[in-house]
């Protein structure tokens, strides 16, 4: 996969492939934001899960733009196909009816703005950090090969530990989930 990068210093024309890609990118970002907003704001958990799925679909697009189609696909496969569905299943099993949680007396009035400000603070801080820092961009890596081959090679050679860890984590998760879910049913 070749990155769609214009020669340095120039900007893409609106009707070129690069421009088209830019529009698509904006769409994916829109998906991410709207999904996240739905997920966080909505009172109904099912809608929150739907928002989560939308957001992660958008994120997959973002990863694609980060020259890593493999991770993008895995994002879809794991987050949308497994995690969201798992959570939705959890909701099905754990809430008999879609109850909208009633407001608590004092805390809830306070917690909304408080949480909002904390979230905003984090966002502002990190964004500032992102924009202000002078990142040392590797020029030659703009065209780097982010293909699955490289990932696979490193995963089995340099970073084989990660591979093993992933396996162990998943195995433990399977066993743990089985044990926990079984215990609940007497």
């Amino acid at each position: 996969m070749q990155p769609l990068v214009c020669p340095s210093g120039t900007l893409p024309s609106l009707f070129s492939a690069e421009g088209f890609a830019g529009i698509i990118f904006l769409l994916t970002v829109f998906l991410v934001i709207s999904g996240a907003v739905i997920a966080v704001v909505s009172k109904r958990l099912v809608r929150a899960v739907a928002g989560l799925a939308v957001c992660f679909t958008g994120l997959a697009g973002v990863y694609y733009f980060l020259l890593s189609p493999f991770v993008a696909m895995m994002q879809m496969l794991i987050y949308v196909g497994a995690v969201s569905i798992l959570i939705a299943f959890g909701i099905m099993m754990a809430t008999p009816e879609d109850k909208i949680t009633p407001d608590n007396k004092y805390l809830s009035k306070l917690i909304g703005p408080l949480a909002g400000s904390v979230g905003a603070l984090f966002f502002a801080g990190f964004s500032l950090l992102a924009v202000k820092t002078d990142w040392q961009v590797f020029p030659e890596h703009a065209a780097a090969d982010g293909s699955i081959k490289a990932v696979g090679m490193t995963l089995l050679t340099t970073h084989s530990m990660v591979f093993e860890l992933i396996s162990i984590v998943l195995l433990l998760a399977i066993i743990g989930a089985l044990v926990l879910a079984r215990r609940g049913r007497n």
């Binding site: 934001i33 958990l45 973002v62 990863y63 754990a94 801080g125 990660v162 089985l178």
Partner: protein
């Protein structure tokens, strides 16, 4: 016009991705504080993890000497997230079976 074209070129800019990550993190933190059910919090925790992955991916694309590095970390995070979701959901189901509620405040007597 220049403005429009610059917006169209956002995807070639590292700070865009970092800001997306920061935003997801902010949403995640906000949600974690606001949501009062375990599953709601779980959803928001996923956002925090996703924020980390976006950052890893962005650094790997623009900064890292070895491009596969960030991707591997992201994959690792995905595995963690999947495992976390599985465990969390099974805990939730188990807890719900016993307490008939997934509201964190109702689960006060869970300790001990």
């Amino acid at each position: 016009m220049q403005m429009v074209l610059e917006i169209l070129n956002l995807y070639n800019c590292m700070s865009t991705y970092l800001i997306i990550g920061a935003m997801l993190f902010g949403f995640g933190i906000y949600g974690l504080m606001v949501h009062r059910t375990v599953i709601g919090m779980l959803i928001c925790a996923e956002f925090v993890l996703a924020a980390a992955s976006v950052n890893f991916m962005a650094f790997s694309r623009f900064l890292a000497p070895e491009p596969a590095m960030g991707q591997i970390f992201t994959l690792f995070i995905m595995a963690i997230a999947a495992a976390e979701a599985a465990i969390a959901v099974s805990i939730v189901v188990a807890v719900y079976r016993n307490y008939k509620s997934i509201d964190v405040e109702d689960l006060g007597d869970l300790h001990g």
